[in-house]
Subunit: 348 residues, 2 copies
Amino acid sequence: MPEQLIIDCDVHVGPKNPEEIKKHLDQRWWDRFAMSSRDIYSHPTYVNRTDAVPPNGNPIGSDPEFLREQLVDEYGINHVILLQRPFTNQIPYVEYATALSSAYNDWITETWLGQYNHDGVFKGSITISTQDPLGAAKEIDRWGGCPQFVQVLSDSGARAPYGQSQYYPIYEACVRHDLPFAMHAGADGIGISILPSTGYPTHYIEWSTCHSLSYQTHLVSLLVEGVFERFPTLKVVLVEGGVSWLPTLLWRLDQQYERFRSEVPWLRRKPSEYIRDHVRITSQPLESPVNSRHLLKMLEMADAERILMFSSDYPHWDFDSPKHAFPKLPDTMRKRIFYENARELYKL
Amino acid sequence: MPEQLIIDCDVHVGPKNPEEIKKHLDQRWWDRFAMSSRDIYSHPTYVNRTDAVPPNGNPIGSDPEFLREQLVDEYGINHVILLQRPFTNQIPYVEYATALSSAYNDWITETWLGQYNHDGVFKGSITISTQDPLGAAKEIDRWGGCPQFVQVLSDSGARAPYGQSQYYPIYEACVRHDLPFAMHAGADGIGISILPSTGYPTHYIEWSTCHSLSYQTHLVSLLVEGVFERFPTLKVVLVEGGVSWLPTLLWRLDQQYERFRSEVPWLRRKPSEYIRDHVRITSQPLESPVNSRHLLKMLEMADAERILMFSSDYPHWDFDSPKHAFPKLPDTMRKRIFYENARELYKL
């Protein structure tokens, strides 16, 4: 007989290897199981084109000559705007977040904007962490004189809508160096990016569909808070969040403006009237309704000829080919979307 | 000399009356100052039509004969769907939230659906609190046999997107009594309604503009989670969140569905294909673009002839008149929007 009966109420066990668990999972979960669990919304299979692995076996998107071959030469592209994305907005430790952004900016300056850029085809984005506006402003100042950088970049995932005043040091720095502020879809609801306009849904399909809603939240905030009155030369670029939602949003916002302008006495124009002077939208993932005339009508309503800029999202799985993404467009519209709008914005 | 030096580090003081503070505020803040501060997004002036005060001086919206005169008779309306709104989704204490919903249902049964309803013009909504799904289901069961109630009602402000499984007891009860589930714009980001698809903005103009985004979050969730496969007879009504956003959202969601259907194997149709059988949208506040042909085009793309139902939002400030809210519509579309779609849904 033991001297004392014992119950240990806290002992941890685990599998010898992941296979012990995997064999109990339906095959459709295996891709997800193989991933890091840190991202609460992870792509269910592969975020990159599987044909984008360079012949030397290096990681996808790391080989400039292969990228030139598969994208630049294949489609006759004149300039490629590079977006390196360390997803730093979701990191609580702001010093680290900004240090990591800095490290990416150092790296891309040396490589893709430096030794890999013999033909000048690559233009860069200064990555910042928006939860650290003062650190972000310093980072913009650090690179503002470098002509290879054509914009400032962060994610749509944020702590608050981007029109709010805590972000103004970022816009001051953008204006100081005459650089657009670009936001790329992503990081919404992850880490400290607690502005979940995507709504903390269950699946990646929902989260990714609703990225367009984050953009609408940010755009309404930028317009309504009077950011474009305060910073009359600031341009904002919305990357990878769709475009067809724009007309409806502006109808709705203009209607509310007629009714609530007493709340926002600093606005001197209807919200929609700031768009052409201040906002540009990239095209991928372009909406593709069954009836392509509906898309053309929507592009007309969205003033796409002036505000839309082509993007492919290479090397990601949902790449939009310059050859196939758009239905037949009127000539002037096509030229502006594929070239002129970006050339003007980025002074290329 | 005092025996002991003392610092009291917590003493509260306040003004003798609100005027002492008000005189230090610019006049444009006075309306807001006069309000309760409990609502974090409050209408900056008056939420009701000022001409809607009944001649007997009773509160706006409390006098059935005056409502008949100002709305029903004025515009020749056949049925009025009443939405009493105690905003209970934002209350943490679920027993109280459901008790308050119950009290409103008791009250409206006795009054507007009872003694005030001699001509049968009024139809009611069973108010529930969605954070208490089991209590809500009981409340639906309590009234499900009463033909004066034609739908179940709650706010878009919620703890999670409405497709998620915690809400299924509510939909089971709706289906049991063949009642649509209606959500009304409101309460987003307030109290425990921590699904802020509106994005915790600064102003009411932003918050109210972005109500349409909450609806998109909820609708994507309902479609993607397979609620309409699980509850094949369930209908959902989206009240007061606009309609023109629907085509774009469905283009985007169908496109993601083509790519991510492995995540949602329970869906047997494209997400957009569930709309006509399961979703109805009310019209107020109807978007009003400068070019009314754009609205007509959008209504066509949104299949408005089948899914849109007229609403005025009486007695609120942004009332849509049956005479003026719409541009000239094709006859069949007009009849369905103003009458047939609601008659079929509510079995009137």
